[in-house]
Symmetry: D2
Subunit: 367 residues, 4 copies
């Protein structure tokens, strides 16, 4: 049986400092060493310890600033014209939560970004506009509102908006902070644009069937061959599932975007989900390891995260740090609400670090 | 370098019989033994050796006989009221080709079969009727024409047609001959009907999304959680793929039904595909290991199999044995044609026995 | 709940023949078809149904005949000079049990076989002699008594005995019957001997460490990089395990030969084990799917298989068919006994066909 | 084609600050946001960027201080009596290199640590002493010099030295910094000692065979069932491999400790290797992602890491950070040298972040 969590009990470091020990510590320090018991209780916490705080970014606040960036800089100067969202406790690593970066990118008709690649993986969720496209690994893919699109680790990619389109805004999600922390990031710029190697929308048209994949092609890359997950296919699927599926007590109808070639996450380091909260639904509270960035794709409601209420409506973005209790509420009694989210679960689960805990009272008390 | 295929050359058994050897063979025989060189060239052929022949079963011939069975026997007497199709060379094992069984089952409004299970896996492809259903593992699933449905190894299953439906006819595919050959088949009858454990059509509604799966449920069974692949979703996906995919030279637009939880075959012992031959398409000839049973789901055309022409139209069934050259032709210049097929590829590939060879001339000469 | 096993009960085919039905059957037959209910109870047995019978081949009977083959034919004439063991019920497919072939090969000093390969997989267990060797994929490997060696599917291989060696006898195990049944076997002869691509015994020396493998080499073949499992390493490991492991009630200390790159079976279609029966051990009886060929590597005892007693001592070979009860007895009260065996478990388990049943009384009654 | 690495070129952020932009940045900052182009070039480096520096800790310096800790604190007070080694650039996370922690633990005869567990994984490499033991998941395992032993993530473990043993010193390796960074660490203390659930040394005796594993036991945990890798088995295997294996140009005879149930790394977050440098061997230089901690287990030599020479002999510990060139030299012309190392490669490779680069000149110039 486990003992209770008490730093003064047997099994924890409980050494009292003495002059002799102080001298000893100094000697260790001069040799690039230290006494474990000085730091043990701090580096071995009883429970997972998040470094981020819950935050919500209102699109009403940000939209005009995002659009303004289009007046201030060009994509060519900026590399990518993005306003990024940063957690108050993670400014040192430019992360929105945990080791996840997120930003809002604006592209005007006729603009495009330089083609580039990096060891960090990227994904996008479309917020506004018409005629947007991305080119990933030689595949040009057109984008519509609420579409989810991936640009996996080390694939060449570039984005733009057609001359006759309308200004596009999308949310970027990347694991730049993680890949930097793991000392593995790199960057390359392509001299010119990518050569298109397939007809437009090859990936979503060839791999977008239900339960069927092209039989004559071996896919052996560590990411999904389906680069775009169309809202016009995803939302009806959520509605179909909602007819028969009782859903998760913590998340309502929660569907994970998957790699159709493996059934697993879309990329090796980031996963993503779309969830539907039924009219009037108020989920139960739980906490788990793994960091999450949400965007409201439809409807309005609020989430209680770490005891604080965060109200959201379409296009608002918020985060849930690791091991912080959270629960979601759809404020409409007639309409469903949908939350897109991306996360670092592929990291957490492939390393054996996932754990989960239901709130003992079912729901949190708002502070 | 390989030597050429010659049974009189070094490396093959070339022993001449002598009276002394004859006496020796007799002595071996009395001890449950034999001389390998007597049988070696026979049991070690230069190339894969099929035991089946190509055959086609015309639905025009069979349909009335299938319907007649409904007058002759009840499902309760017959267990299942099925006319099975048997290869002229595989009557000993009741196989249509290789180790695959196929049959045509008829069920009248209000009828149902006893609930049962077996180590053999089963699948169905719907040919006619309305109001048909199957119950697999407590999931009741409604069936429409050209739907493909699985009843995996050792799942309880039963079928029927609603009182207000129309007589249903479907093709059954099973690996009974294989599982018998592997001395592993079994059978059980349920006392009564299955208890329904989920809302009607739970599986296709919950798992029928494109690139998304329910996130809150771990699926750990060795078969697809998607039990039904609806024609009304599959055919549009074929058309979408055909817009961008150049297709296989041997098969046109060939899509494999997959397990969305793994990206692999729908069951451990049988796979299935739907392929679309574009208007006027005549594919190239190749041969490979693995046995295939086809049903024409749409259109008309012919296949050349082992040098013989087999004309098919909607609902005709034919087979391609292992290592026999085959090519397909869509006879319409304006309409596409679709072929459903099921096969033993999961067996062949998981055991490392797949190989393939293009016809040296591109096409066969019809005998 | 399952009903009891009764062919006259609901859920089984129970149709009585009538003249009308007879006429119907004749018409079906003329179209390459039949009525399922005529064969259903036969092809869907209540429990797995073995086609082989238990048999034992005494080495005392066979040894002189095996040696005599060396006087009668050369390896060059015979391809391989092998006396094969055939099950009384499987003569049509030259199998010792199920779909497994086994034979006893004799090679004299200075002799060697032609280099060849085939889609059937092969393994060998060394019975007698000195200076034997095999060359697999360019790796020359020396062989000693009780060593186990693999020559996987489609690898070039050849065998011989050094000029200064002693006549070698070994048991061959192949899945020829299975690969023929699956219509996938092939054969090729190499023009001359293989070129050696590595130092002698590269594989067992490089991959023969405990829990360590060469870190700088990616092994991506579907079989073990360890080609030889030396008795001088295997037997001590059995003794070590016997110190701490209580063993299996049915098999004593049963150790499976594994692919160190995967932890799985040594090849895709055949597995192998070595088991140690402790002094005086009498295991319990069970039955399971999968076919097994045994050779006694050490000691003496008997097995009860399907209610019959089969006494064995060193070098005797016997078989246990699928779904036949078996139990093993070490007749010595002071020495351990060791049984080598090979099987088709990789086939049975990868296809989801394994099942097992303990004998209800613990032990069988000898008939 | 990639462009060259130049921050002033197209594809990088090249925005000049203006008063208008400064005001814009301030507004963004007030909303928890920022302009990506301000930080992009910094967070997206051209090549992987290590945060640690190469360091070497001499055992001659540390040994007396380690022993002294035994006079200063008890294991009961300290939790574990360990001197940890810390990288000059990673003091904030108590890491020796990257996200890896290492320490030197001393235990006197009759002492033992409290039983505890944590989400961080641990491993040990034995440096000195007799009679040491560890208890992992109810398995008591005895330890000898140069043995490598694992205590995987969330297994209960405790260590000690027998009353009649000699003071033991071992190196601990943990991924505490990583698991803290991923906000997933936890800790628990057992009330009392673990109950032993198997005979002493069950794991190494049952799973320590070459190419064989107990057949009657399913191992489904995400770490190796072999908890101890004995030097007395590992070193002979290195010598055997050295007879036939030409080795890696960068590492000599490099053998990876593996999980015999999978062929993969011993745990999900840390791997380990033992390498043998042949007499006089001087390897070539390369760099790759992933962090490494080394201990010299035998012999003497030096490594050039990031252009600096680090001389080592038995028991010295040093580190190689991610993406820093390194090469190793055995200074003896007659004796081999052995380096134990552990690393975060399972993290780097499972997340798709491994890359490697040979030094363009073969060797580094010493600064």
């Amino acid at each position: 049986m486990e003992t209770k969590h008490d730093d003064t009990a047997y099994g924890r470091a409980r050494v009292q400092d003495t002059p002799e020990l102080e001298a000893y510590y100094k000697k260790l320090d001069s040799l690039g060493a230290g006494a474990l018991w000085k730091v043990a209780n701090d580096i071995e916490p009883w429970e997972p310890r998040p470094s981020s705080i819950p935050m919500l970014w209102k699109y009403d606040d940000l939209r005009s600033l995002v659009l303004k960036s289009a007046e201030l800089v060009t994509p060519g100067e900026a590399g990518r014209r993005v306003v990024y969202l940063v957690n108050d406790k993670r400014k040192d690593v430019s992360a929105a939560v945990g080791w996840l970066y997120t930003g809002i990118q604006v592209t005007q008709p006729g603009e495009s970004t330089p083609a580039h690649k990096h060891k960090a993986a990227a994904l996008r969720f479309i917020m506004e506009g018409e005629g947007g496209y991305t080119v990933v690994d030689g595949n040009r893919i057109t984008l519509e509102v609420n579409d989810f699109v991936i640009t996996p680790n080390s694939t060449w990619h570039e984005h733009g908006v057609a001359e006759d389109g309308k200004t596009c805004i999308w949310q970027d999600g990347l694991d730049i902070p993680l890949v930097n922390a793991l000392e593995a990031n790199d960057y390359a710029v392509l001299d010119g644009n990518q050569e298109l190697t397939a007809p437009e929308n090859f990936s979503p048209l060839a791999y977008g069937g239900v339960g069927i994949v092209p039989a004559d092609q071996e896919w052996n890359k560590p990411y999904s061959p389906l680069f775009k997950y169309s809202w016009k296919k995803v939302y009806p699927a959520l509605l179909e599932a909602a007819k028969v599926h009782k859903g998760s007590p913590y998340d309502g109808i929660l569907m994970q975007y998957t790699n159709p070639a493996t059934g697993g996450h879309v990329m090796q380091t980031m996963g993503a989900s779309m969830q539907l909260l039924r009219a009037g639904e108020h989920t139960k509270a739980h906490k788990h390891t793994g960091s999450f960035v949400y965007q409201c794709a439809k409807g309005k409601g609020y989430s209680i995260i770490g005891g604080k209420r965060f109200d959201w409506k379409e296009r608002d973005i918020f985060c849930v740090p690791s091991w912080v209790y959270h629960e979601h509420v759809n404020l409409s009694d007639t309409e469903d609400a949908c939350l897109f989210s991306f996360n670092d679960l592929p990291v957490i689960t492939s390393l054996g670090l996932y754990q989960e805990k239901a709130h003992p009272d079912g729901h949190q008390t708002i502070e």
